[in-house]
């Protein structure tokens, strides 16, 4: 199976965008999950709803909202561009941001599940042994919720490979910049005689997804041994 340089570019770009989106979303995802599970503050339900919005809102609408916020004249996009020279619309970074927003609820849900499996009694024990908040979070809570974090990262990565609507709306369909696999497949189906290209790229998509799942399973098993759950 021969891939053209352009098709390779789409594969590499997809991997890059998905990876960047996970890198972008993981730390805030963990923070929000901790807030939602352990936090007791007014507006918790509002935060919960806000986080889950991308799951229910059409991706195109998410892309549009990002365009409004991060566009060159948007309330966030303008200062970013004017003060730091950062432009997100129609760039790879923008594609990663759009993907991150779309997969954010997936990360939060998985991390939350992982955190709900951590016995608060262990944290209380760590407290009585002299560990402050950050200390026990880093030494007890975080390692014990690691399987949830991993599951969230892998799911978000796999979903990120396939993000379409938000990316094409916010970052457009620029080969080598923002044209990820699904966008390339879409472009191929729209061009005459592109069926063979579309089929090849679809095959690659499938292979990547399966490889990702297998890898996640392997790491999860390792992790359970490491965490003393066997």
């Amino acid at each position: 199976m021969e891939l053209t340089a352009e098709e390779w570019l789409a594969v590499r770009l997809s991997l890059e965008v998905a990876l960047r989106s996970v890198a972008l979303g993981l730390v805030p995802g963990v923070a929000v999950a901790v807030l939602l599970v352990r936090g007791r503050f007014p507006g918790r339900f509002l935060l919960d709803a806000l986080v889950h919005l991308p799951l229910v809102v059409p991706p195109v609408v998410v892309g549009w909202a990002l365009l409004m916020l991060f566009g060159l004249r948007g309330p966030i996009g303008a200062p970013l561009h004017d003060w730091f020279g950062i432009r997100l619309v129609f760039t790879t970074e923008g594609a990663a941001l759009a993907t991150a927003v779309m997969s954010f609820p997936l990360i939060v849900r998985a991390v939350r599940l992982g955190l709900e499996h951590v016995d608060p009694g262990l944290e209380a024990a760590a407290r009585t042994l002299g560990a402050g908040w950050w200390d026990r979070f880093l030494t007890i809570t975080l390692p014990l919720m690691a399987p949830g974090i991993l599951a969230g990262a892998v799911t978000a990565f796999a979903a990120g490979l396939g993000e379409f609507g938000a990316v094409i709306t916010f970052a457009s369909n620029i080969p080598g910049e923002t044209q990820t696999l699904p966008l390339a497949i879409y472009t191929a189906t729209q061009s005459p005689g592109g069926e063979a290209v579309a089929a090849r790229l679809a095959g690659i998509s499938l292979a990547l997804a399966v490889a990702g799942l297998l890898l996640a399973e392997l790491i999860a098993r390792r992790m359970h041994v490491l965490l003393g759950r066997v």
Partner: protein
């Protein structure tokens, strides 16, 4: 010294606690009472894991909690080592790392037994590289004891540490608890609803019922009080501090303040201090010195008091033998038939074989 006062209510009309007591410099004080009497709540308040509606906790002059002054030292700075019912070892860390968790976080100037000493004391050397999942229940609890002690606490709190174990595991861990108590030289607050553990470990007893302190005092003193719910138990009776004095004819002689007893052969060496619970239902009295009896222990005593028993036709006799007191459970009928009354000289009869119900070494 630890001083505790607290008042707490769960919910608006829920269960309420109003209790206060003090702990001496060292030794074990048992918080004893039925399930749901509030003992674990009190322990959680002292540890700082629960904030009561009102409370004051002072340890060696340092205020840990004073709701009136809005003072509440967080648990991580209270230096109260806690041993929970379910060990709560960190599953992702080895036994050695679990043990060192508190040690690493203890203030550098805090004094206490070292790592090797604690490992030796609890016999957990072979377990060090293992993960908690690979330990038995008894082993886990021994590691939890070590972990709490190695955090160099100023006070040890134990929340029914043996309650989750079966009888065999309890018997395995109990001697280690006794060794830890003797090595720690710390005040220990021990929550339990098992009288054997009180007999084996505690010096003082705080008796709780429905969130109130019914009585506090030495285990020996409270055991012979017939006005407490302790007297209604099947195993109600006096607790005597004894010393193993010698062995003869397959029997062991035990000295106590005011006399001596023989018991079936004990494994302990001469000089070992033990505590015996002599159940009131195992003690009989005679008004004349009996002869031709198989009973080995016939002790001269004086009836100090006669008080109502737990049953309608029963009474408790408090028998003074020197400075010690025994409790005997007899029927009202025997009292009138024998003309028993306070001040009467009698003979207390105890079969040697009745000492199978024993507290641990002290």
């Amino acid at each position: 010294m630890l001083e505790v006062t607290l008042r707490h209510r769960y919910g608006r009309d829920g269960f309420g606690i109003e209790a206060g007591f003090t702990l001496p410099e060292a030794g074990v004080t048992a918080l004893f009472g039925p399930s749901g009497c509030g003992k674990s709540t009190i322990l959680a308040v002292v540890a700082g894991l629960l904030r009561p509606d009102f409370g004051r906790v002072v340890l060696d002059g340092a205020v840990l909690l004073d709701t009136a002054a809005s003072v509440s030292v967080p648990p991580e700075r209270r230096r109260c080592g806690v041993v929970f019912q379910e060990a709560r070892l960190f599953p992702h860390l080895s036994v050695a790392s679990n043990l060192r968790y508190g040690l690493k976080r203890a203030p550098p100037d805090a004094e206490g037994p070292g790592f090797a000493e604690v490992v030796e004391l609890l016999g957990i050397e072979p377990l060090l590289p293992r993960r908690p999942a690979a330990l038995s229940g008894g082993e886990r609890q021994r590691v939890a004891l070590g972990r709490a002690l190695l955090a160099r606490p100023r006070l040890l709190l134990m929340d029914e540490p043996l309650a989750a174990l079966d009888a065999a595991r309890r018997a395995e861990v109990l001697p280690f608890l006794a060794r830890l108590r003797d090595a720690a030289r710390l005040p220990i607050l021990y929550v339990t609803h098992a009288l054997e553990e009180v007999d084996a470990l505690a010096d003082r007893l705080v008796l709780l019922q429905s969130g109130r302190v019914l009585a506090e005092g030495s285990v020996e003193d409270l055991a012979t009080r017939t006005d407490l719910p302790l007297a209604a138990r099947r195993d109600a009776g006096a607790v005597l501090a004894c010393t193993v004095a010698g062995a003869e004819d397959g029997l062991t002689r035990l000295d106590f303040a005011g006399g001596s007893l023989v018991a079936v052969m004990r494994a302990e060496a001469v000089g070992t201090r033990l505590r015996l619970r002599i159940r009131a239902r195992d003690v009989a009295v005679a008004t004349e010195e009996p002869r031709g009896l198989s009973t080995r222990n016939i002790l001269a005593a004086e009836i100090a008091a006669i008080s109502p028993g737990s049953g309608p036709q029963e009474v408790f006799l408090q028998l003074a033998i020197g400075p010690s007191t025994l409790l005997a459970r007899v029927t009202q009928d025997s009292v009138s038939r024998l003309g028993l009354r306070p001040g009467l000289r009698v003979w207390a009869l105890l079969k040697a074989v009745t000492f199978d119900h024993l507290g641990g070494a002290r």
